[in-house]
């Protein structure tokens, strides 16, 4: 292990990621229940990869992210070591994907962050709510950068031939971007909430993902980051799929 990734005390009451490369630096490590970002996002960064094999102080959300990444062939057995706390508060070392899966399935299920009742509102009210929220979007893509599942080398929003999603931060462009992102994360989002926390405009983006995650779970019986192998409703073709919804 050349590197331990965790959280340390940051500036002005904040928490910041720690990349400890010596035992002395480990003294700064703190356990953070409500982290400002999902550390799994660093596993794909070339600057971090070149530091060597990493150990990650892992919360349930991080472990589920890694499981989801493994199911999508983005994380492979023993690429990193995860240090998690079991129910008794003892440190458990997890490395193989099966180990992580066993640990996750034996841990209590983390509920998705609850929305402020927006889900129960009717369609028009929900649409009006999101229009109002997206009006503040500045299209910095911090939601994408903070998301462990947004690992595409070329994002659909960066493609300009053809241009799928309008780049300007106008009403249509913002709506298309956030809906596209939510759809791409449907059944893949583990509900860590990093996007909502990273958004400088304070848009509760995680609510959209939560809505779709619940829908996918209800319709397909799947929940992201719970198993090493998943069939994603939106990326798998099955001849038995119902097609009666296509008019």
């Amino acid at each position: 292990m050349q590197l331990i990734i965790g959280f340390a005390k940051g500036s002005n009451g904040r928490r910041r990621p720690l990349f400890a490369r010596s035992p002395e630096q480990l003294d700064q490590l703190i356990l953070e229940d409500n982290p400002p970002l999902n550390l799994a996002v660093y596993l794909r960064k070339p600057e971090i990869k070149r530091l060597g094999k990493a150990g990650v102080v892992a919360t349930p959300a991080i472990l589920r992210s890694v499981l989801q990444l493994a199911a999508e062939n983005q994380y492979h057995d023993s690429e990193a070591l995860f240090l998690a706390l079991d129910a008794d508060g003892a440190v458990v070392e997890l490395s193989a994907v099966d180990q992580i899966a066993a640990f996750v399935s034996s841990s209590p299920n983390t509920p998705f962050p609850s929305g402020d009742g927006i889900q129960s509102k009717d369609r028009e009210e929900r649409f009006a709510y999101w229009q109002q929220e997206f009006e503040r979007c500045i299209r910095c893509y911090a939601c994408r950068a903070s998301c462990p599942m947004c690992y595409c080398e070329q994002c659909i929003a960066d493609s300009n031939q053809p241009q799928w999603v309008p780049v300007p931060p106008h009403t249509l462009g913002n709506l298309e971007w956030h809906v596209a992102r939510a759809m791409h994360l449907a059944g893949r989002c583990v509900g860590c909430g990093a996007c909502s926390k990273a958004c400088p405009a304070g848009i509760p983006l995680g609510l959209m993902n939560q809505f779709l995650a619940e829908l996918v779970e209800k319709e397909f019986g799947q929940r992201a980051g719970m198993a090493t192998k998943l069939d994603y409703p939106l990326s798998v073709f099955n001849v038995k799929d119902r097609e009666d919804f296509i008019k």
Binding site: G10, S11, N12, R14, R15, R16, P17, F19, P36, L37, V41, K45, P46, E47, I48, D116, Q132, E133, R136, I138, R139, C140, Y141, A142, R144, A145, S146, D158, P166, V167, P168, P169, H170, G173, A194, K197, A198, P200, A201, G202, I203
Partner: protein
Amino acid sequence: MTMIDRKLLKKESVGPLMAVLRDSGRRIIAPQSVGSAPGAWYRELGPEDELDLEHLTTLSPKSAFLPMVEEILRFRNEGKRIVIDDCKIQAQPTVIFGSRPCDTRALHALDAVFLRQPEDMFFREKRAATTVITFSCAAADPDCFCTSVGGGPRDPEGSDLLVTGIGNDCWLVEVWTLKGKQVVELAPHLFQPAGEVETECLVAKVPVRFSLDDVRKHLPVLFNDEEFWREQSLACLGCSSCAFVCPNCSCFDIQDEADLKGGSRLRCWDSCGQKLFTLHASGHNPRGGQSQRWRQRVMHKFSYLPEKEGLIGCVGCGRCSRACPADMNLVERLTAIAEARV
């Protein structure tokens, strides 16, 4: 800059002053709360809206001059010809009411970019039509560092009027420009003479955090120290929040939106923190790593702009530090640069 005049304004006269400004055909852009969104937001302030001078604004009033998205021309297909139509420049007489000294100072960096020859007419017209009424800061938070980059909580730079609290029910209004004088002349009955006596002003104390001279001296030397920049930016997610909340950042992207009949050319905010910013059509990226993009951000603000335009591309508002999900505190980074052994 020379002060033209000093006046007193009762707090209860702020509402009537805004009514006068509106009646004169000016639109007022001012901080207010927006739904459940954190902080305050610059929006057009209608007669029924409530001014929020207490909370920090998530964004600066920059978008009044450089909108997040702006149409700069239109084109249409006529047979085999493409006809280009100019866009009408939207420059409504505007008053920015309740800017902060740091945000107002940032207009200098925007002026340097957009008013150099050839002038950017979209920016120029809006800038000319806008009066900036700045309020001195009575409080600062630990992320504020205006005094480290040449500004201060009562810095008049760029303001047409600078308003400072001098007690519970009164503001001291300093008139710094002719545009500011025009505002006072619109409602002379609301202002009282302030006299010559220096009044006790309610102004925040913002300590100097690092030596700007040392930052500027060390940057060209550190430029090639790849390890230094990699270490500084290890936590950077490349999310660009810092650039999008920055009152100085002025980089933009040009996008065409069109259908078969024609379309628009749009200017949108952009950021050097994103890898697409410098990606060549060949696939080569001269700033291929996040550390190079971070270095560019720091160099541009603290080395290139000072060298080229004689000003710092940072006003110490602290927004980048507050917005960064990885807590890449700019003051800490600049302190490390100032204290580096080079």
